[in-house]
Every structure is written in structure tokens, then in C-alpha cells.
């Protein structure tokens, strides 16, 4: 079961267990001992800093003087910060365009590959390679050159006598190159889709074929509903990850988010505020704003899921 499916059943069972008598817990001591590293990590590395971050977001803090409590000032400042809204716009475009396109391509290729074709393993590995390398600085460096004004794409276009624009130096196209980089890494969701497709029993298709259902009908009545939990799992996680992407925009724009802030991702702006200007309070407020947005997107996803995600045993 996927992590999301697991979380769903867990919360359900926790809600149901309310009145049940307390079970016997024979391993209390051993359990806490085995869990000790994780618990320390949870307190010191995750929850502690989260609480601290919430407090810092209400202060002015530059690492040198002690934090000054300023109430909601940072949050109010965010509303009047055009660069912040711009960075949010850039990030949302990246997520809303990049994630669905990447998943559609991954699903399409998985469907083509799934029909027991020759060379499946070869195609699957080669298409996965970009996902494996895509997060690295080296690939972002490469991308910067491929779409540079004298880069690979333009010199290939020149072969056909076309004078290409400076893809990365123009505010109109810079973001598209980063979205393209995201789509290029469709291999890992494709592998998840392939694994999901293999779970669908072949008899369903045989029965449908006997009943005279064509390929389109079989896709919409069998494949899509049975694959919908996997699609949902991919969608939720990819959106969460895409909101946090940083490396590609940072490297492609040389750390500036330029040209004209067109690749200034929210995380990049947060980095600039926190670790460039040392506005730790403001950066913390931004981080909570980001968490809120990611949570909102996830909540909407879960809410929408009841209309299209199909769970076999309800």
C-alpha cells in the first residue's frame, strides 16, 4: 500500500477506535528503545524547529541581535510584497502546468509499454535515467547550456536555418525550460504506473473483450478506475514535491531567479530572504505560508478524490 493509502486507513481506524478498551501493550519498553533515535529526531529536528519557526515568524531576527517580537508584521508585510506574490505565481504555474503534463506523459508511455511489448525493460530503464539524474546540479548546469542563446537547441535549430531566441535569458521562456526539465523526469511516475497496471487482473480485460468492449471502453471502464488510486498517489506527492523544488531554478538562473524574476520560485525567494538577507523572521513566515498553500492543495486533492478515485472495497 502507498504511504497515502496507509495514512488514509490509519486515520480512519484511529477515529473508529475511540471507545474501544485499551489493548495490552506488552512491548512498551522495547518499543520506545527501538524508536528512541526517531523520537529524538522528531523532537529536535522536526517538531522543535517547527514550533521555533512559528515563533520566529512573529519576530524580527537577523542572527546578530536577539529576536524582536513584532506580532503579525511579517505576515502583513508579505501581503505588500510584490516579489512574494510574483514568486507564488511562478511556483503555482510550475506546479499546475508541470505536474499534470509530466503525469500524463508518464501514464501515456506506461500504457504503451504495458501491453507486453518487446524491449520493455530497455525502454523502462532508459526513460528512467533522466529521473535519476534530473535532481542533480550537473543536469541543471547542462540545461543552462542546452537552452542558452548559443546553446544546443539553438545550434540544432540553426541547422534548419532557424534563429532561436535566448530561451533562458528571456523572461517569456525561462520558466518553460524549467517546466520542461520537470517533464523530462517523467520516468519515476511512469514506473509507478507500470507497477499499478500490472496489478490489474487480466481476466477483467478478457471478460470485457468477450462482452464486446472496445479498447476505449476498456480503458475508461477498467484501466482508469482501477489505476485511479495510483494516479492520485502520484498527483498528491508530485504536487508536494514540486512546490519544494529549488535546485533547477537556482542553477538555471544562477541563483537570482531571473530574468526579471521569471524563475523566482517561492523557495528561491525564501532562500534569498533567509540566507541572503538574513531576514530569518520573514523567511519563517514565508515557510508557514508555503506549508499552508501545500496543505490547501493537498486538501483540495483529497476532497476532489472522492469524485474520481475508485477504491475497490469502499
Amino acid at each position: 500500500m502507498s504511504s497515502i493509502g496507509e495514512l488514509r486507513t490509519l486515520t480512519k481506524s484511529m477515529r473508529q477506535r475511540g471507545e474501544k478498551t485499551r489493548e495490552k501493550m506488552p512491548d512498551n519498553k522495547a518499543g520506545f528503545l527501538f524508536l528512541l533515535p526517531w523520537l529524538i529526531g522528531l523532537v529536535c529536528i522536526t517538531i522543535g524547529p517547527m514550533v521555533a519557526s512559528l515563533y520566529l515568524s512573529l519576530t524580527d531576527y537577523n542572527l546578530l541581535q536577539p529576536p524582536q517580537f513584532v506580532g503579525l508584521k511579517n505576515y502583513l508585510d508579505m501581503f505588500d510584497d510584490p516579489r512574494l506574490w510574483n514568486s507564488l505565481r511562478v511556483t503555482v504555474i510550475y506546479v499546475v502546468v508541470g505536474v499534470p503534463l509530466q503525469l500524463l506523459l508518464a501514464l501515456g508511455i506506461a500504457l504503451v509499454l504495458n501491453r507486453g511489448m518487446r524491449g520493455l525493460a530497455f525502454y523502462r530503464s532508459i526513460m528512467y535515467l533522466p529521473s535519476l539524474l534530473g535532481g542533480s546540479v550537473a543536469v541543471a548546469v547542462l540545461w543552462r547550456q542546452v537552452f542558452g542563446s548559443a546553446g544546443l537547441v539553438n545550434s540544432l535549430l540553426a541547422v534548419f536555418g532557424v534563429q532561436g531566441p535566448g530561451w533562458i535569458s528571456s523572461p517569456d521562456t525561462a520558466l518553460s525550460t524549467i517546466i520542461l526539465l520537470h517533464i523530462w523526469t517523467f520516468g519515476s511516475p511512469m514506473i509507478i504506473f507500470l507497477a499499478g497496471l500490472r496489478q490489474i487482473p487480466g481476466q477483467y480485460y478478457e471478460a470485457a473483450e468477450v462482452d464486446g468492449a472496445g479498447p476505449a471502453r476498456r480503458f475508461f471502464e477498467i484501466t482508469l478506475p482501477l489505476l485511479s488510486p495510483v494516479i492520485f498517489f502520484n498527483l498528491v506527492l508530485q504536487i508536494i514535491f514540486a512546490f519544494q523544488s529549488f535546485t533547477q531554478a537556482f542553477i538555471v538562473s544562477g541563483g537570482t531567479g531571473g530574468p526579471a524574476d521569471s524563475t523566482l520560485f517561492f523557495t528561491l525567494y525564501l532562500y534569498q530572504q533567509g540566507f541572503g538577507n538574513f531576514n530569518m523572521g520573514y523567511a519563517s513566515a514565508m515557510a508557514w505560508f508555503l506549508l499552508l498553500i501545500v496543505a490547501a492543495f493537498t486538501a483540495v486533492n483529497f476532497w476532489l478524490s472522492r469524485y474520481w478515485v475508485f477504491y475497490e472495497e469502499g
Binding site: D27, N28, L35, P49, L129, A138, P189, F246
Partner: protein
Amino acid sequence: MVTETYSAASRAASGERMRRSIGRAVTSVLKHAGLIVLVVIMIYPLIWLVVSSFKPNDIIFRDPGLVLHDLTLKNYTDGWTAQEFPFTKYLVNTAVLVLGAVVGNLISCSLAAYAFARLRFRFRTLFFAIMLATLMLPIHVIIVPQYILFSQLGWVNTFLPLLVPKFLATDAFFVFLMVQFIRGIPRELDEAARIDGAGHFRVFVQVILPLMVPALATTVIFTFIWTWSDFFSQLIYLTKTDHWTVSLALRGFIDSSSSSDYGAMFAMSVISLLPLFLMFLFGQRFLVRGIATTGGK
């Protein structure tokens, strides 16, 4: 008469069959052709990167092709020494980080996973739910106070901020992966050992760990890949060049004013991708399994 209609019908049927199989062959060829075109487009930039790294600097951009007219290693020798320290230093730094992260994740995540999968204790369900929720928590919500904490401990510009969390099972992905795996191991095995008087720690070390080697291998491979290509936390914590990693050194090529030396930058990019590529070649089986559970970042 009867036989004639029969054979006519069978001829028609075999014609139909043949048309169908020809149709199938045509779609198969078209499908392969389409896939191969896609693969070539996808892989072309990577191959171009490798080939270009062996070309003289001045012709890299004039030549989008993949043919090497005169092979040179100058980019590699230049790139190796282009930054303040030789590239060996950055490779060693990255290797130390990767090794530490791998050991940390193996120990801490497997301990936590055993507890979640096998032991009954208070708050288990609650903790497990929290663990799953942290999978989805953006790192930015904790990075600022974490940075303040580590800088007050004097850990900035050491590897500690990047390594200590790994020993505290903060990579929930691997805990989850291992929990899934341990659940698949028959309980009779550890119960038999328990009846023989083995404590939980012995069961864990002598029964469970040897059986979960595939999950451990997946953890090693993904930890390797993610730590090797990590950038954000390295950028924040490792500001001095003597602690730079491969990622930071490559970024240095973009920053330096003499950024016209694309050849050297390409050569070092190739070097930095090489270990990932080796993981790809030798870890396929585990990679595929890992992606299916973790959701493949």
C-alpha cells in the same frame, strides 16, 4: 459443395487473420519507432554533454553533433584544478557525506521500522501517523530554526548538520519502506526465536535484519543518489570551500567570472554524474522496487 463453402470461409478467415497480423505488425513498428524517437530526444542532451566534454572548448557550441573530430582531455585536467581545491577534494567530501548518510539511515531507520512493524507499545499508531505525515512536510518549515540551532552549536561548515539527522531517522521514506518490507516477513520466524528466549534486539539483529537485505539495499541506493545530488542543505550549511561538495563545486563554475570555460564545467559535470550512472547500471532492481513505494522523488 459443402466443403467448398467451408474452405472459402476458412480462406476468408485466414485472410482476415493475416490482415490482422499485418495490422498488428504495423502498429508494433510504429510504436517502437515512436518510442525510439522519444528516447533519442530524451537522451540526446546527456550524450551531447559527454561527447562535448572531450571537445576543444571553442567548438563545443558550434557543433551540436555527436562526432568527435579531435579528442582532448584538456577539459578534464583544466576542470580538475579550476576551483580553489582540486576536484578530488570535493569528491572525497561528497563521498564522506554519502557514507555517513548511508550508515545513519541504515541503523536508525531499521530500528524504527522494526518497532513500527513488530512491537506493540503505546502511541504506536499515533507515532506511525506522524511519521507518515513528516513524509510530506516541506523542509523549508524547519530549515530556518534548524540552521539557527546548528549555528549555535557551531556546526555550520562541518558535516554534522547533514549527518546527525540521518542517525535520527529523519528520512521517513526509508522507515516506511522498511516497515512495508518487515510486514512481509512471516511472524512465525521471530516468534520461534522469541520462544527460544531471544530478546527483541537479538530477533532484530539475527532474524529480521538478514531477511530484509533487499530493503536495506534499496535504502543504500536511494540514500546514495539523494545525498550525492543534494544541493539545498549543502548550500546552506557548507559555505567554506574546503567543505564543498561536488554539487557546490559545480555551482562554483557558474558563479566564477571566467564562466566561458564550458568544457571544464562539462567535464566535471560528467564526473559528478558518473557515480549516479553506476548506481543506475547496477541498482536497477532495487531502484524499481524503491520508486514504487516511496513515490519516487
